[in-house]
Symmetry: C3
Subunit: 389 residues, 3 copies
Amino acid sequence: MIETQEDFKAKVAEIQAQPWYKNPIGFGLARIDRGQLNTDKILQATFPVVNWGENFGSAAVFLDALNESGAAVDCTGSELVCDVNDKFTKIAMDTFAPYLDEAFGQAHKNVQVILELEGKDTAGYKMVFIFEDTKPQSVETAYLKLYALSTGKAELRKICLDGAFGILENVAWSGTLPIELDWLRENEVSLKMTGSYPVIDMVDKFPRFLSHIIPADNTRILDTSKVRMGAQLAAGTTVMPGASYINFNAGTLGPVMVEGRISSSAIVGSGSDVGGGASILGVLSGTDGNPISIGENTLLGANSTTGIPLGDACIVDGGVALFAGTKITISDDQIAKIQEANPEAKLSNSMRADALQGLNGVHFRQNSVTGQMQAFRSTREVKLNADLH
Amino acid sequence: MIETQEDFKAKVAEIQAQPWYKNPIGFGLARIDRGQLNTDKILQATFPVVNWGENFGSAAVFLDALNESGAAVDCTGSELVCDVNDKFTKIAMDTFAPYLDEAFGQAHKNVQVILELEGKDTAGYKMVFIFEDTKPQSVETAYLKLYALSTGKAELRKICLDGAFGILENVAWSGTLPIELDWLRENEVSLKMTGSYPVIDMVDKFPRFLSHIIPADNTRILDTSKVRMGAQLAAGTTVMPGASYINFNAGTLGPVMVEGRISSSAIVGSGSDVGGGASILGVLSGTDGNPISIGENTLLGANSTTGIPLGDACIVDGGVALFAGTKITISDDQIAKIQEANPEAKLSNSMRADALQGLNGVHFRQNSVTGQMQAFRSTREVKLNADLH
Amino acid sequence: MIETQEDFKAKVAEIQAQPWYKNPIGFGLARIDRGQLNTDKILQATFPVVNWGENFGSAAVFLDALNESGAAVDCTGSELVCDVNDKFTKIAMDTFAPYLDEAFGQAHKNVQVILELEGKDTAGYKMVFIFEDTKPQSVETAYLKLYALSTGKAELRKICLDGAFGILENVAWSGTLPIELDWLRENEVSLKMTGSYPVIDMVDKFPRFLSHIIPADNTRILDTSKVRMGAQLAAGTTVMPGASYINFNAGTLGPVMVEGRISSSAIVGSGSDVGGGASILGVLSGTDGNPISIGENTLLGANSTTGIPLGDACIVDGGVALFAGTKITISDDQIAKIQEANPEAKLSNSMRADALQGLNGVHFRQNSVTGQMQAFRSTREVKLNADLH
C-alpha cells in the first residue's frame, strides 16, 4: 500500500531499478480517434498532458502499471504504444494515492489524467512512450513529437520527424473530429439527402495547432488555419490572417509579428517582423536543405522573399527577393559599416547573397534608379557579443 | 412489373424511344435549401450524385417517373428543373426494382438516392437536367455545372457558366447552411439578445468546394475557405493555407503544390508548383481574356506574378512579375538553348513576354546587377513531343 | 402614463431638460460575455442595436429608466456603463408604450431590444453610453466604437480607439463564444479526456466582423477570418480568401475588389482594385504614421506594395514596391501628361515617391529593361474637379 509521498518515491525507485525499465524521452496518455470504417486506423492522438524529458516518476508508475496489468512492455525499442485496461487504471491510481487529493488545476497533471480515465471505456486510450528520438513508427508517437514541439518542450529542428508524413492518415476534419474520406464516400448519398453532411474545415494529415495547444496569454492567432500542429510559437507572437502561415517544425523564439510565411524548418528570432506576404523559404521549398534562421529585431518587408539565413537587425525591403545566388553590390563605405557590425565578415563589392548569410545589421534593397540589388548597413542597432569582441 | 435487369433495360429502351425523350448532358436529384423569409428563393442545391455524360438509363427512369407522376417534362429546352412527389419516388423505385438489393456503397448511386428519398418530404428535393450547355437559367443547374467541374466529370473551361453570378443568391453561410441576409436583419435583435446569433463563416454566392466534394485520398486542402465550389483539383494536389486560393472554373491537372492563387479560368499542369503568394492572373483580372495555362513541372516562385501562359519545365523566379508587355532580354546562347527545347519558336534578343508564351523550359529572372528582366533555358528537363520532332 | 406618441415626446423633452442629462454620441444595450473563471472580466459585448449620433429620444428613455431604477447615472464623464434590472426594463417599456405594437422588422429597434429584455436575467446585459470621443475606458465602449465603425455609422479614422488593445482581453474564440485561456488551461485534461475540447477558431482581442455585422446585400466576404471587427466595408465590396485582410479602422468607401491587405487606418476608394497579395501599409507598419488613402478607380497590381497615399485612377504594377523614399524617374512628356491630370502638382524628372502622393492618374512601373522605377500617366480616366479648374 502506497500511503505517503515517501512510499511513492520508494516505489518509483524500485521500478526504475528493474532491469527492463528505461526512462522515456517523452510519454503521455493519448485519447485516440479511430477510423469510422476501419477502426484499426488511428486518425488522431490527443494528449491531455505531454511529458518531455521530465516527470520520470509518473513514467515509472505508468510503465509498471502496464507491466502489472498484462501489457507487453518493452523499453528497448525506440517507442512503445500500449493499450490500457481497468487494471492499469487501478494500479496507477493506487500508486498515485498520496497525490489524488491535490491533483487539480496545474498540479499533478499525470494524476489528473488517471483520475479522468477511471470509469471510462479504456479502448479509446493508449499509453505512448518514446525512448529514442528516431523515426516515429506510429501515429501516436508522431503526435507526441508534434506536441513536444508545439508545447515548446522540445526545440525546433531537434526532433526526428522523418517519415511522419507517411505514417499520418489524410483525413477530413470537422472541427476537432477527423473523418475518414472513405467513410464520407460510403455515406455521401445518405448524408446529403438528409442534410447532415458534416462541415469539413480541411483535409490534411496534420491537425491544427489550436486544436491541441493553448497558447500563451499574449500570443494571438487570428485564424486557426494559419498554424499547423508541430509549429512552435513563443509568447507574444501574433499571427495575422492575411497571407501568413507557420508550418510544422517552424516558428518563433520570442514575440514576432507574423504576416507572412514561415516554412517548415524556418525559425524567427525575438522582436522580428515577418511582413505581409513575406516568404521565408523552407527546406522543402527552395533552400537546398539549408534551414533558414532569422535573427532578432529583423524586418522582412511586405511581399519580400528570403532564401538565406539572416542575422539580427537586418532589413529586407518590401518586394525584394533574396536567394542564395542573388548578386549583391556593396559600396566601399557600406562595406566598412557592415564590417563594424560583423567584425569577422569577409566582404567585397560584389557578393552572392549566401556569402552574406547570417550577418547582422544588413539592409537589402533594390536601387530604384538602377534596378541593382544592394546591401547597406541597416538603421537598426546591432548588439555585438561582448565575449567575442 | 420490372423484375429483372432485362426488364429494366427494355423499359429504358422504351422510354428512350419516345418522341419527347432526350438524353441529358447532366442530371441529378438535388436537395434544396430555400430562403428562410422568401421560400421561393433557392439558396443552395446539394447533389448526392452527379451524372455527367453517363448513366442515361437512370436519366430515362427519372424523366419517365416525372412524366408519369404529373410533372411538366420538356426536354427541348436547355435545362429542366422539376418538383418531385411521392408518386415519382414510387415509380422510380418500381423501375429500379432489380437493383434495390445491390444499391449500397459505390454501386447504383442513383438508386440509392431514390431509396433515400422514400418517406421524406419531397418538397425539399428537385430533379435537375441539363440538355444543352448554354447559360444556366436556374440555381439548380448552375450548381449542377459547378459539381460537374469539381467532381472532374467536366473539363475546366469547357462548360458555359455565363450569367451564373447573376443567378446565385448572395447569402451568409453558417457551415453548410445558407442563410438569407434579410432573415438575419429581421432577427438580429432577437438572435443577439438570446445569444443565438449564428456563426457566419462567409458571405458569398458560391459555397465552398469541401462542402460538396470529397477529394481524392492524396489530395489535401488545409483550409476550406481556399477552394471555391467549381474548382477542380486533380488527385495529389495540396493547397496550403497561406496566400493560396483556387477560384471556380480553375484548378489542377495532376499533383500540384498550391501555395498561391489560381484565378478563375487558370489551369496548372501536373508536377508544377505554385509558390507561396504566387499569382496566376485570371480572365477577370488582367489577362485581357487570355486564359492562362501553366504546363507540367513548372515552378512559379514565391510572390511571383504570372500574366502569360507558360509551357512545361519553366521557372518564374520568386518576386518576378511577368505580364504580356514585359520586355524580356535574351542572350544569343540562351536563344539557342531555348530554341533546342522549342524548335518552332521564333526568338530574338528583346521580346515581349507574350511572344514567349507557352514555350517550354524557359527561366524568367530579373538580373540582380542590372535590374533587367531576362530569359534563360531553365535547368528543368523538357520532354519534346516525339511525334512532332 | 404614456399612452400616445405626444406623451412620449413630452416625456423625452422633460428628460432632456433635466440638468444631469446629456445626449450621448453613441449608445446601446449590450449582451455581455463574461470570463468563465473570472466572471468580472468582460470578454465581449454584443449590440443588437447601435445608435450613433441618432435616436436621442431612446437615449433619454434609457438614461431616465436607469436613473429611476437606481443606477448611478453620470453624464459628465466620457462614457457610462450601467447594470440593468427588471425595474429598468419596466420603466423603459412603460415609456415606450405607444410604440410597442409597431416594434418589429426594421422599426423601433431600441424598443425591440427592451421587449426582448423583458423576462430575461438582466445580469447578462449592460447599458452603454459614450458622451465624449476620448480613449475608451471599458470593453463595452471599445466594442460600441468598433460597431460604430463597422456599421458605417462613424467615419473611418474619426473615432478615438487609443488604448483599446490594452482594454480588450485576449481570448480563444469558439465560433461567437469567447473563452478565457485560463479556463482552457484549468480544464484541458478533462476536456481532452472526454473528447469535448472546443473547436478554437482563433485567439485574439478582437472578434470578427461577421460575428457582429450583417453586410450589405451585394457585399461578399469569402472567409470570415479576413475582416476584423472595426473594419468598414462599403456596399459592393468583395473580399477574396487568398492573401486578403482588412484590419480594424480600415476599409472601403465603395465597391472595391479586395484580394490584398488593407492595414489599420488605410482606406480605399470606390471602384478600386486591391490585387492578389497587394499590401497597403498601415500606420502600425511602415508608413511613419502617415495613414494611406487610395483614391477611386485605382489598381494595385498583384503582389504590389504601396506605402504612399494615391489619388484616383492610378496603377501600381504587379510586383512593384512603392515606399515614401523610392526614387521615381519621369520623362518630360510624361511629366506633361501627369500635370494635365494634376494641374497643381510640382513635378520633376527624378522625385521621391512621397512627393507624388495623392496625385491622380499616375502609373508606377519598373522598366523591365533598365530596372528603373518610373511614373507614367495611367491609361485610366481622371475626372478633374470642376470647381477647382
